[in-house]
């Protein structure tokens, strides 16, 4: 079996409950290297929880999650080591407010990977250029717009050279005119072959960048379709109704 055929991420039958409330029921998915998966579904359907099972911010109760060749749901890998290989972007950006944009990007490479300041600064400047914020390195988060902050957050995650990027509703907190600039950066990364898993309601992005689309409701994956099948209308009645709702 060649390297590229082995999926980067394989989730097999995971369950999770918060107290007595089940939030994930027997969820499975496969994500190959270089592909982009978009997760859609009504709020409270377990999309974010599924995302957080992948980097163990909220581990599954049962089932298996394989990342590369390792089974990460069995405590074989220390969570912080796994997370060094998986980038994550949050709805509320969560930039470190006491650090400048460049320092936000430099922090993890310096403390975790041991890069020196000069190397880290150089890398930060390259990444800022990549997210089209060349001249904003010395700005603090509260001096940047929401869209700019989210792009810094993407650069911060990329600084660890992740094999997989997780986006948890990255544009939900943004004003409409800023959504585009963030989605453009994400679509560009996907096009360059960054394996990505995206929770979003932006169907335009899904059409542009997704290879695979998952529809979730009440903790279950109801639909797992290739993007081409999905957008040619080969979807279940329930998924179609949801799409009608979010597309108005």
């Amino acid at each position: 079996m060649s390297h590229s055929q082995k999926p980067l991420l394989e989730v097999i039958g995971i369950d999770k409950a918060f107290g007595r409330q089940p939030v994930l029921k027997n969820c499975s998915l496969t994500l190959r290297r270089g592909e982009t998966l978009v997760l859609i579904g009504p709020s409270g359907s377990g999309k974010s929880t599924l995302l957080r099972c992948v980097n163990l911010l909220s581990p599954a109760d049962s089932g298996d999650v394989f990342f590369g060749r390792q089974n990460i749901s069995r405590g074989e890998v220390p969570p912080h080591q796994l997370r060094q290989r998986i980038g994550m972007v949050f709805q509320n950006y969560e930039l470190f407010s006491h650090l400048t944009a460049a320092e936000n990007i430099m922090l993890a490479p310096m403390t975790v990977l041991g890069l020196n300041r000069t190397e880290a600064r150089k890398q930060a400047e390259n990444l800022l250029a990549k997210v089209r914020l060349n001249d904003r390195g010395d700005h603090f988060p509260d001096e940047l717009s929401g869209g700019q902050q989210q792009r810094v957050a993407i650069a911060r995650a990329l600084a660890m050279k992740p094999e997989l990027m997780l986006y948890d509703e990255p544009t939900s907190a943004l004003d409409p005119e800023m959504i585009r600039e963030v989605l453009d950066v994400m679509a560009e990364l996907s096009a360059e072959g960054m394996t990505s898993m995206v929770v979003t309601h932006e169907m335009g992005f899904a059409r542009r960048a997704a290879n695979q689309i998952l529809f979730m409701e009440e903790g279950e994956i109801l639909e797992n379709a290739s993007a081409s099948d999905f957008f040619s209308g080969q979807v279940s009645e329930r998924a179609r109704r949801f799409l009608d709702q979010i597309l108005h």
Binding site: N55, H80, R83, F90, L107, V112, F140, A157, M160
Partner: protein, 241 residues
């Protein structure tokens, strides 16, 4: 009333010694108080019930009784249990235990003010809990707790006068002893007052300096200034060559 005598008192070795003792008690009690407060703050957040109960009882005891009472209690009751400590140690012990109760509240509010999302972001980057604490939580909490900590510093300096009741040779006791020997109350007490004002002023300057140096935007302004100075320097060097 004689200003010359007052000045003489100010520069006398006894008063200098007393001021030094006051400063020593204040700084030691503050440092121990911060450590005590940090332990209590963590106990209050502890996932096990026993920790929270211990912290609650501690706060209830030490905020519910006068500091003066606590000082006298430590000094007079501990020897009954076979623990004889020098007066200075008793003073620092009592003041630190009391300070811990107040510091706990300040530190806890500082740690809580750093939103949990910031910690999660650190975790998602693969940082360990210790790295997250050092690089993300503490720098942000420090800025929040600094102003109330400054108040505690100054109020501790003033509380240190209370330990004169257990015969620690600090500023107030020296002033009182000098005055009762010479009946020059005005001069002796003014000399002590001058030292207190001097010490509180130093504390206030220290606090202002600390607040400035912890403000990230001030930090940026400073290195931008050095960077631009560097640029002009290299520019003029280029002209020379």
């Amino acid at each position: 009333m004689s200003l010359a005598l007052m000045w003489q008192y100010v520069i006398s070795p006894a008063f200098l010694q007393g001021a030094w003792m006051t400063l020593l008690i204040t700084v030691s009690a503050l440092l121990c108080g911060v450590v005590m407060g940090l332990i209590l703050a963590l106990l209050q957040e502890a996932p096990f019930r026993a920790g929270r109960v211990v912290a609650f009882i501690y706060l209830w005891l030490f905020r519910g009784t006068p500091v003066l009472f606590q000082i006298i209690f430590v000094y007079n009751v501990l020897p009954g249990f076979g623990i004889s400590l020098p007066a200075f140690t008793c003073a620092v012990l009592a003041l630190s235990l009391n300070e811990g109760a107040y510091m706990a509240e300040i530190l806890r509010s500082g740690l809580q003010a750093v939103k949990s999302g910031q910690r999660t972001a650190g975790m998602a980057l693969g940082m360990t809990p210790v790295q997250i604490m050092r690089k993300i939580v503490l720098p942000q909490a420090a800025r929040i707790v600094l102003p109330p900590m400054g108040n505690q510093m100054i109020s501790m300096l003033k509380s240190s006068a209370l330990v004169s009741v257990i015969a620690v040779q600090e500023l107030l006791l020296i002033a009182n002893q000098t005055a009762s020997a010479s009946f020059r109350y005005f001069e002796a007490l003014c000399a002590a007052g001058i030292y207190y004002l001097l010490l509180t002023s130093i504390f206030m300057l220290f606090q202002a300096w600390l607040e400035r140096s912890l403000d990230p935007k001030q930090r940026r302004r400073r290195w931008q200034r050095t960077a631009s100075a560097g640029v002009t320097q290299s520019g003029s060097q280029r002209e020379i060559s």
